[in-house]
Amino acid sequence: MIQGVQLDLISEERLARLTSMEKIRLILDEVMAGNIVVLEKGLSPEESSRLIEMTMMEISPDGFSGIEMETYPARAQGGGLLARLFGGGRESPSRLTVIGPANQLKMLRKERDLISAWVSSR
């Protein structure tokens, strides 16, 4: 059998149909199974915050040691005075995101417009 790593590319449409908790559970279940997940559109800050918390709860000695996650920095937001007043100007857009097990996914190089990562099989 060919050795390899499963890569799941999840579309923006599919992500839009999921609730925040469903998204986080989907990511963690995939990653804990040793798969790499690529999200066409990344998580919101609130979802990222919950993902960190839930990841911490799943870590166990000699088992799951957490996630490696890479995404691009948010694009600079314009937004006029009204947008800032009503909070619209502060919402950071989520972008293409890759998430994998911390012991299998390593970042090689990261810039504002380039992510270079290395994936190993278990």
Binding site: S49, I52, M56, I59, G66, S92
Partner: protein, 213 residues
């Protein structure tokens, strides 16, 4: 300080007195080993004569959030703020107990530390969502600021519209590059300091009074 900033501060003070607003809780956040506890100790020692917690080169030395109430910071212009300082565990997305055994810690103790560290990270995130009014985000100026955890954390802080001052720490080290941090987060004020030696900490105090007051 321009007229608009002065007016904003006066209005903020008036509203705080009028509505008896609680003291602002300022959380010191950042990845492990950025120097959060060193800075928290310096702030608390400079303004109260006390200390907050132990520091160590071993990551995740701080595994519980620690709060010091009623810290008054003032400057030569007569401006001051009264805040609670919250030193938080370093935020990360991965913790492996082998990180600790590499420092000579026995496996049983390392597993215990790793478990406490995971709880500490979750606790820090919870504080940020529920109980923090402003953030000092600490970065080790010798490391790449584009690390994912920094981008995520600054995004989370921005989404909560919390005032944030970014601190480029460890400028006493030869590899330090505060300019790299400034270019990574141009939307926020960045203050370069050495928490260990106390270099430029007065500028940070001025910025804290301006931003959190």
């Amino acid at each position: 300080m321009d007229i608009l900033t002065k007016a904003k501060k006066r209005l903020s003070r008036f509203l705080r007195v009028f509505f008896k607003k609680k003291r602002a809780r300022i959380g010191i956040y950042g990845p492990p080993n950025a120097g959060k506890t060193t800075l928290a100790n310096r702030i608390v020692r400079d303004w109260t004569g006390d200390a907050l917690g132990p520091v160590s080169e071993i990551p995740h030395e701080t595994r519980r959030a620690r709060r010091r109430e009623d810290v008054t910071i003032s400057n030569g212009n007569g401006d001051s703020i009264v805040i609670d300082i919250v030193d938080t565990p370093g935020v990360t997305t991965k913790i492996d107990y082998h990180e600790f055994t590499e420092y000579g810690i026995e496996k049983e103790e390392a597993v215990k530390r790793a478990r406490e560290a995971t709880e500490g990270v979750a606790e820090a995130m919870h504080w940020l969502r529920e109980d923090i009014d402003g953030v000092i985000y600490m970065l080790d100026a010798t490391l790449d600021p584009f690390q994912q955890v920094n981008i995520m954390m600054v995004g989370i802080i921005e989404s909560r519209t919390l005032p944030v001052v970014i601190v480029a720490n460890k400028i006493d080290l030869p590899d330090a590059s505060p300019a790299r941090i400034k270019s990574a987060f141009p939307q926020h004020p960045v203050i370069s300091i050495s928490g260990l030696e106390g270099t430029n900490v007065d500028e940070l105090y001025d910025k804290m009074i301006e931003f959190f007051g």
